[in-house]
Amino acid sequence: MAYLKFQRSAIHSAVSSSAAHIGVGISGQEGMQAVLASDYSFAQFRYLRRLLLVHGRWSYFRMCNFLWYFFYKNFAFTLVHFWYGFFCGFSAQTVYDQWFITLFNIVYTSLPVLAMGLFDQDVSDQNSLHYPSLYKPGQQNLFFNKRQFFLCTLQGVSTSSLLFFIPYAAFSVMVKEDGSYISDQQVFAVTIATSLVIVVTVQIGLDTHYWTVVNHFFVWGSLIVYFAILFAMQSDGMFGIFTSSFPFVGTARNCLSEKSVWLVILLTSVVCVVPGMAVSFLRVELFPTLTDKVQTSSHRSAYAFSHQQGYGELITSGKNMKMSTASSTGSPGGTPQSSTWIENMLKRKNAVSCVSDEITGAPAKTD
């Protein structure tokens, strides 16, 4: 979230933005005082444009995405215990293995969200510069406010309830392929934990707009590391060394080799992910924001860019027909009509440089 404050000064200029309260100083011939007092400094005013419109905007976007995802995954992870309370006599019995609880936020889900927070871009940098009005959501605090937080909480709660109740219903009568018992605490824990890790990983995969090599490595690597640690911790070797710390010995081997358990995991993952996907797809189709339009247009071609205000105003105003002020009913504004439409045309063509005009102090023209 940023808003721009301009200080006009003959000696130096300083631009400050809130939230992070970054101070930006521009060094110049008049001196380096602003540079000494600022967090970031550079030599020319035109660099400010890239700092704000590209990096500032991306920073806001990444921060909001990161927060949203972090709250979502922790709600999904923790609230399963709330639902389980109804079925364990409210005794605060954990659904998951103790080790899973320890490692979930540190190892299994930390790196993908870090990569998303560092590298994600919703539109490319050229498009960010080309469409400065993409900066508006940051000024208006649109990407993460109370409403967004509420929606994120809602999605976390519903994911947690699906994560619990689908295995609950399936495990009421489930037995293994050879008939032996499988509806026990430990298998239940491993099934829900595996479903959770898969759901949050798929969710971050869908939320990442811009995939780099690092993103790929972190996302798939976290999933592989989860299974590696799961089988390592529940192996005979670890149990032999630390008997009382690893009571889940043998569970992963016994339950993840069952087809019915994998069917439960697949069902849970699909049911948790599909509604979110459908809602975001509908939102993009039915209520597209400027970001969505820029993204879809950059996917297609330059066709959409050629659309601009045509010559309709000129023709309807009649200026090209006869040079008389009698036909002034269609023209906008009042007074100097002959130059008005020319001004409008020039304004629209030079819209990109409007913001830089504002920065350099020219009177702001708004349509």
């Binding site: 392929e177 026990d184 019915s260 439960v264 699909v270 039915l286 959409a304």
Partner: protein, 243 residues
Amino acid sequence: MYYGLSNFYQNHRRYVKSRDDSQLNGDRSALTSPSKECEPYRTGEGSPIAPCGAIANSLFNDTLQLYHIDSNGTFNEIPLVKKGIAWWTDKHVKFRNPGGNNNLTVAFQGTSKPVNWRKPVFELDPEDPENNGFINEDFIVWMRTAALPTFRKLYRIIQKKPSTTPTLPSGKYVLNVTYNYPVLSFDGRKRMILSTISWMGGKNPFLGIAYITVGSICFFLGVVLLIIHHKYDNRNNSADIPN
């Protein structure tokens, strides 16, 4: 053949903690001084309890026998197999008898039986040393605590008869229950369940119904979203991107 219990909260936190895995793995030091988690079922009659804890103490000890009444009126007992009901990793890795499987009476000297048991642990199955002591399969199955308050655990296996003779021919059957396990005090219920098994386990209608439902919803959603995308995409093509 399964036995089922209802309203039995094997997933209560204090209950789940009340065991000593080192003792059950045959550790000598844990045998003589069990873990504190087992309180109040840690020591009894002045000596440490083996196996300690509330889970072991509440071992299910009913005996079920199934008889088929054939056309002559004679009772044919259906053979019930009591080995192979526990997980292999449980029986061979997690649970071990202290000092090997022989001479269990000597190995468990100095310990006492759990409070609610009738016989000590080394008399669970005296004829079979592979099924006695801590590695008794009924005991192992019970120690694997259930996740939900209504559960069923494998009691015995009825071997499938070879060739075409039916394993359980149609007719009248008698179930003989030696009722040792009290459940009325906590409004619990006991059941006996007979089930065939397949690659998906036993009878599990939930998974089938859920998959069909979710699959149809996904298909329907796919069609609807395709229509919406087709309709609104044409509108978006002519949308102006404001500069």
